[in-house]
Symmetry: C2
Subunit: 287 residues, 2 copies
């Protein structure tokens, strides 16, 4: 690890649209944006470090976006710790943290939504109605506000990446959307802010997701091209773990997210699985 001199002394925290605009007016270009909902983990660290390496000014937004939560209970229990998050931002070389209130992102009278069509409908879109409208809307705001040359997102949220790419391209927002590989625990569990909710037994069970995805990958690498056989293989693997309750198991076109019969191009294999009250997602790209 490179030693940095007092990185926190350099980091600026802004909480309003106006203060962010002012701070960015004199920021060196290009600007890299890492949008987060806080409770930063090694996955976020990797995004911030990459933005820091590739751009002249790294902006991290920390905003738990109420519009992308269908369930108020899910929103209420989403973990938060700003002081810890800011320290992590500083350690990874961020220059600016944008940590607005809900009222600052959605001012009184806010009444606009951005909606992406087909690619936002299946999988997470079907499981969480309105979720991707909330994501597309807040990311459009952040992109327009920051005017970054590049924005960094984790591949773990593969559908979110597709939705954001579609939104930015369609609306001619000149921010390049960059996907960064999923960062994992040593046992293969994808880093997620939600992992904190897992009981020790659930935590021990959660790597079943990764095992199931890797089993599908192995099938595919061995030449299997039937999507149903891959789905069955994943469900069989998950069924070995009593605490794993699959929500969906998908083998879909990696661009349109249409479910496949036969694999004959880039394919996204993904799943959502509940462990007790915690719902986790993960995916593998077969290409």
């Amino acid at each position: 690890m490179v030693t940095r001199e007092s990185p926190a002394a350099h980091l600026q925290i802004v909480r309003t649209r106006e203060a962010l605009r002012e701070a960015l007016a004199r920021a060196p270009r290009p600007v890299g944006l890492v949008p987060t909902m806080g409770w930063l983990h090694a996955g976020h660290r990797a995004l911030i470090a990459r933005a820091h390496a590739e751009t002249a000014t790294t902006v991290v937004s920390i905003f738990v976006n109420p519009r992308q939560f269908g369930d108020p209970a899910d929103l209420a229990k989403y973990p938060r710790n700003e002081a810890r998050d800011v320290a992590i931002c500083a350690e990874e070389g961020a220059d600016l943290v944008f940590a607005p209130s809900v009222e600052e992102v959605y001012p009184p009278g806010f009444d606009t939504s951005v909606r992406v069509g087909e690619v936002a409908q299946p999988l997470e879109g079907a499981a969480r109605p309105g979720h991707f409208d909330g994501v597309a809307t807040v990311v459009a705001i952040l992109f327009d506000l920051v005017g970054a040359e590049r924005a960094y997102f984790g591949q773990k949220d593969a559908q979110q990446l597709l939705v954001i790419r579609q939104m930015a391209r369609d609306l001619a927002i000149p921010t390049e959307v960059i996907a960064h590989p999923t960062v994992r625990e040593p046992d293969g569990l994808a880093m997620s802010s939600r992992n904190v909710h897992l009981s020790p037994a659930e935590r021990a069970a959660a790597p079943a997701i990764r095992r199931a995805l890797l089993a599908a990958r192995e099938c595919w690498q061995n030449g299997e091209r039937s999507a149903d056989i891959l789905r069955d293989r994943m469900r069989a693997e998950l069924s070995e773990e009593p605490l794993a309750e699959p929500d969906y198991v998908s083998v879909a076109d990696a661009t349109t997210l249409r479910e496949l019969k036969t694999i004959d191009g880039p394919t996204l294999v993904s799943m959502a699985v509940r462990f007790g009250a915690t719902r986790l997602i993960d995916n593998e790209l077969l290409d």
Copy 2:
């Protein structure tokens, strides 16, 4: 009129997002944008001339936006004459004309919409379902694409102005939305590209709209504060003109467009009236 040396020699026409970005990369700031659907008239001339006076680079977009037409027949008959429009842009001092194809604005696979809530619902929103979704979406694209400091719209389309202001503010698009007074024919008829469709008899009848609006203004200036009395006054005035078929007659809060019982603040008086197959709108702001 100020004499200009060969303005057309200066004007640049671009047809792609990419060419527009390139042209704007070296354009003097600030940039003023005048979004139009072509068939330019004196109202557009005033917007272009104002942008030319107030900004260093004036961009006029000419794009008949299919997404804001509910009725394919209305879209098909919308008048077009690019050569004439470009000449007018040059005469009024525009620097850049963006005249894209439908496929350039909405590339294959385009699948995003921008929707504004309450203020887009009544009046034109109720009469033309989907209209303002199309307007908000195309203007978000144009704003993101051009990155203008200012954009100019005519007050004739008062609800459109409110929808665009709401969209730009909510999505943090840093383009200031400027309303310019409606430009009128000598007999009071508001300039509109649709006026070309009026038969001579309909054209002669159309100033009834303006008379009705001014009658409402006179009532209000004389102290009347009952919205219903103003509506009745306007309907009575329109009924004097056999060719005028009112679609709606509205007395609404100028910010929310909620219909009023009592006038006690800034008020938008507006109407849509059919003359044969042509539907015209106009308004007066009571403030």
